[in-house]
C-alpha cells in the first residue's frame, strides 16, 4: 500500500503547503475567519481578555483516551477556563516530522476540530512547518487562545484560611494513561486519559463563590498547591480519603513508585472556594460529565505548607514534584 506521508515540501510554503492547509486544516476547522487565509485573522472582542499559549509534545501521540490533537485544544482552552475566561479564538500551529503519515495527521486534526467544536472556540489562524524527523518523530503542536474574562480566578490575595479545596475530577489518569500506553509495560490498560474540556464545568457553576482556580497538569495537584502556598502566607490541609482516584490508577502509581498527587492530569481543576458555598459548587460540578467524580479534598489552613492526613490518620507533607517522573526500579 502506498501510504501518503508528510515531506519537506509540505513546509516549504509552496503548493504542497497550500494544499495541506486547504484540504486538511481549513476543511476540518469550520469558520470563515480561518478560511480567509489572510496573514492575520481579524477578530472582534470587547471587555477584559485572557490570553494563553502552550506547546504540546506527547509521546505516543495517540494514547488511551485521547490524542495530541484534542489535547492541544483542550490544554489551552482549559488554561483560559480556569483563569475565569470564556474561550473565544484559538490559533493552531503544527510542526510535523518529515515522513509523518498523512492519515495519522488527519486523525489528529479531526480530533482537534472536534474538541474545538465541543468547547465552542473558533480556530482562526495557524501555521505548518516540517522538520527533520531526527529532531522529533511525532508532531508538535502549539496553540494560543484568547478568551473574554468572566471573573478573575488568579488573585492569590483572595485565598484565606478556611476556604475549601475542590478537585473537579479523579486524579493522575492522564500521566498513567501515557505510561501504560508505552508498550514496554505490556499492560492490558484500561486507564484512559482524562483529557477534556474544563470550560464545561465553569459554564455550569458560574463564578459565584469561586475564589481561585488552576489546571492541575504537569506536576499534578501537588505542584499547584505548592505554587499557591509559595505565594500566600497560608497552606493546605488535605484528607487522603477524600481524594478521588480510580483503583487501577492507584495500583499503577504504586507499581511505578509515584505519588498520584504529582502525576499529570489533563482534565482536573483545583478550585478554591468560599467554605459556605463549596458544597453547592460541588453539587453543580458533579452534574457535568467532566466533574462527576469531583470532591472537596481539604482546606486552606494557617500554616505555610502542604500536608495531608493519610487514610490511617497519619499526617505527612505532600512532596513538591521535582523534574520528570522517573519510574523506580521494579
Amino acid at each position: 500500500m502506498n501510504m501518503k506521508k508528510i515531506t519537506m515540501a509540505h513546509g516549504s510554503g509552496g503548493k504542497a503547503t497550500n494544499d495541506l492547509i486547504k484540504n486538511l486544516i481549513v476543511e476540518n476547522f469550520s469558520g470563515s475567519i480561518l478560511g480567509n487565509l489572510g496573514d492575520s485573522a481579524y477578530i472582534n472582542l470587547c471587555g477584559d481578555l485572557a490570553f494563553s499559549s502552550d506547546s504540546f509534545v506527547v509521546q505516543p501521540e495517540f494514547f488511551p483516551g485521547g490524542d495530541i490533537g484534542e489535547l492541544s485544544v483542550y490544554g489551552t482552552c482549559n488554561d483560559l477556563a480556569v483563569s475565569g475566561a470564556v474561550p473565544m479564538y484559538l490559533s493552531f500551529s503544527l510542526i510535523l516530522p518529515n515522513g509523518y503519515i498523512m492519515d495519522d495527521l488527519e486523525k489528529i486534526v479531526k480530533s482537534a476540530a472536534k474538541a474545538a467544536d465541543e468547547v465552542g472556540i473558533e480556530v482562526v489562524c495557524g501555521d505548518t512547518k516540517v522538520i527533520n524527523s531526527h529532531s522529533s518523530n511525532t508532531p508538535i503542536i502549539n496553540t494560543a487562545g484568547i478568551g473574554v474574562m468572566g471573573a478573575s480566578l488568579n488573585d492569590y490575595s483572595k485565598i484565606k484560611p478556611g476556604d475549601k479545596v475542590i478537585l473537579t475530577s479523579d486524579i493522575a489518569r492522564h500521566g498513567m494513561a501515557i505510561f501504560s500506553a508505552r508498550k514496554e509495560l505490556e499492560l492490558e490498560n484500561s486507564i484512559q486519559s482524562d483529557c477534556g474540556n474544563l470550560y464545561s464545568i465553569f459554564e455550569k457553576t458560574g463564578y459565584d463563590g469561586i475564589k481561585f482556580s488552576r489546571d492541575a497538569t504537569r506536576g499534578g495537584v501537588a505542584a499547584v498547591l505548592h505554587e499557591i502556598s509559595d505565594k500566600i502566607s497560608a497552606g493546605f490541609y488535605l484528607y487522603e480519603n477524600m481524594i478521588p482516584i480510580q483503583e487501577d490508577v492507584v495500583y499503577l502509581c504504586e507499581f511505578l513508585g509515584f505519588d498520584p498527587l504529582v502525576v499529570a492530569n489533563e482534565g482536573v481543576a483545583v478550585i478554591i472556594s468560599e467554605a459556605k458555598k463549596a458544597q453547592k459548587i460541588l453539587n453543580k460540578i458533579r452534574q457535568t460529565k467532566m466533574g462527576r467524580n469531583a470532591s472537596i479534598v481539604g482546606e486552606v489552613y494557617e500554616t505555610n505548607n502542604v500536608v495531608m492526613e493519610t487514610k490511617i490518620g497519619g499526617v505527612r507533607t505532600v512532596e513538591m514534584p521535582s523534574g520528570d517522573l522517573l519510574p523506580r526500579i521494579c
Binding site: 508505552r182 514496554e184 509495560l185 480519603n241 483503583e247 495500583y251 504504586e254 513508585g257 505519588d259 505548607n305 500536608v307 495531608m308 492526613e309 493519610t310 487514610k311 490511617i312 490518620g313 497519619g314 499526617v315 505527612r316 507533607t317 512532596e319 513538591m320 521535582s322 523534574g323 517522573l325 522517573l326 519510574p327 523506580r328 526500579i329 521494579c330
Partner: protein
C-alpha cells in the same frame, strides 16, 4: 485486587495503632529498622511515624538499591560512556545520581550521550535486538528482587545470540549485609522489618541469624495494615524477649521462597565481593556473571574497574544507611543536597531515606 484494599482498611489500621500504644512500655525505646526502599516510602506516604508512640523509632537501613550502589560502581558507568560510543540502558532511579565529578546520567543525556530509561531488563534485550549495529550496556542494580529479571535478560540475550548486549552486574544480596549489621557494635536496632519483595524470592531462611542474635524479625508487606501489624509483632517479640522470624506477608512469601527464581540466579550468577556505599566491600554479597555468561560482562569487555571509592566525600549516606544518623543530621540536607540537585544518592531515589525525609516530613 480486593485483598490489597483490605490491607489499606483505615479502621483496621486504627485498631492496630491503638494496640501498639497499649503494648509499648513508656520507659523503653524500640528501634526498628526497615531494609527495603519500598517500606521507606510506604512508611512516609502513609504517615506511619506520626501515628506511632514517640519511643518507637523507625530507621531506614541499607535497602534502597540506588543508595547502596557504591560511588565506584556509579563512576564506572561514566567511564564506559567516556571510553566507547555506547548506549547505556538504566532504570529511571539512576538518572540523577551524581558521579564523582558532579555530573549525572541526566546531564550526560542532555549533552547528547545515548542514555535510555528502561522499565524492565527484558526491554533492554528487545532494544538491543532491534538495533544490532549499536552496543548496549544495561546497568543492573537492585537486590534479590530485581536479580531474577536481570538474570532472565541475560539468558534471553544468549538465546537470541546477541553480541551487542552487556550487563553491569551490580546486584547485591541481603544475607551478607544483614550479617554486617549484626556484627556492627554501633548498631542500635531491636528489630527488623524484613523486606517483603526480597523475601518472595529468598524465602524466610536468610533472616534466621536475626533471632539468633536477639533481634525481632518480621517479614512485612507494603500496605499500612501490613506495616502496622508487623511493627506490633516486632514490639511483642521485644517485650517478651522471644525472637523468631515471623512471616507476616504469607499471601506473597513462601517459606522456601521462589525456587524457580533461585535456580535462575544460580544459572547466571556466581557470588562475588561487592562494594556497598558507606559500608565497604562485603564478601559474597554481590552477584557477578559466571563463566558461562561472562561474555556479557560489561566490566570485563570494556575493561573498567569500579574504583574502590565507596562513598562520596561530604555525603553521609553511609551513616544514614547504617542507622547511625537521621538524614536531617547531615549538614548538606536541604542545603546543597535536595531532590532536584542531589549531592548524594540517598537524595536521588524516591526510595532513598534522605529524599523521603525531604519530601514527606516537614
Amino acid at each position: 485486587m480486593k485483598l490489597t484494599v483490605d490491607f489499606k482498611n483505615p479502621e483496621l489500621a486504627k485498631s492496630l495503632i491503638d494496640k501498639i500504644s497499649a503494648e509499648v512500655f513508656d520507659e523503653k525505646s524500640y528501634n526498628i529498622m526497615e531494609i527495603c526502599g519500598t517500606h521507606t516510602v510506604s512508611i512516609f506516604r502513609y504517615g506511619i511515624r506520626s501515628v506511632l508512640p514517640e519511643n518507637v523509632n523507625l530507621l531506614s537501613g541499607p535497602g534502597c538499591p540506588v543508595c547502596v550502589t557504591s560511588q565506584g560502581e556509579i563512576d564506572a558507568i561514566f567511564e564506559i560512556l567516556a571510553k566507547t560510543d555506547i548506549c547505556v540502558l538504566t532504570f529511571g532511579d539512576l538518572m540523577r545520581v551524581p558521579g564523582s565529578r558532579g555530573e549525572s546520567l541526566e546531564d550526560m543525556q542532555s549533552e547528547g550521550y545515548d542514555i535510555r530509561v528502561v522499565l524492565s531488563p527484558l526491554d533492554a534485550v528487545d532494544i538491543a535486538e532491534k538495533e544490532p549495529d549499536r552496543n548496549f550496556v544495561l546497568v543492573g542494580i537492585g537486590f534479590e528482587t530485581t536479580a531474577p529479571a536481570i538474570a532472565a535478560s541475560v539468558v534471553s540475550a544468549e538465546e537470541r545470540s546477541l553480541r551487542n548486549f552487556y550487563l553491569l552486574a551490580y546486584n547485591k544480596t541481603m544475607p551478607e549485609v544483614i550479617k554486617f549489621l549484626l556484627n556492627d557494635s554501633k548498631l542500635n536496632v531491636d528489630g527488623f522489618l524484613c523486606p517483603g519483595h526480597v523475601s518472595v524470592v529468598t524465602g524466610e531462611e536468610i533472616y534466621f541469624s536475626l533471632p539468633e542474635n536477639n533481634k525481632a524479625a518480621v517479614i512485612a508487606g507494603f500496605e499500612p495494615v501490613d506495616i502496622l501489624s508487623s511493627i506490633l509483632y516486632i514490639i511483642y517479640q521485644i517485650n517478651r524477649n522471644e525472637f523468631k522470624v515471623y512471616n507476616n506477608y504469607s499471601r506473597a512469601v513462601r517459606r522456601e521462597g521462589n525456587i524457580k527464581a533461585k535456580k535462575l540466579l544460580e544459572e547466571v550468577f556466581v557470588k562475588c565481593t561487592a562494594s556497598w556505599r558507606g559500608i565497604g566491600q562485603l564478601k559474597n554479597s554481590g552477584l557477578c556473571l559466571n563463566k558461562k555468561y561472562e561474555h556479557f560482562d560489561a566490566l570485563k569487555v570494556f575493561d573498567v574497574d569500579p574504583r574502590p571509592a565507596i562513598a562520596k566525600e561530604g555525603c553521609r549516606c553511609g551513616e544514614v544507611l547504617k542507622g547511625y544518623i537521621l538524614p536531617k543530621e547531615c549538614s548538606m540536607f536541604g542545603n546543597g543536597c535536595t531532590p532536584e540537585k542531589p549531592f548524594g544518592p540517598c537524595m536521588v531515589s524516591t526510595e532513598g531515606a534522605c529524599a523521603a525525609y525531604f519530601k514527606y516530613s516537614s
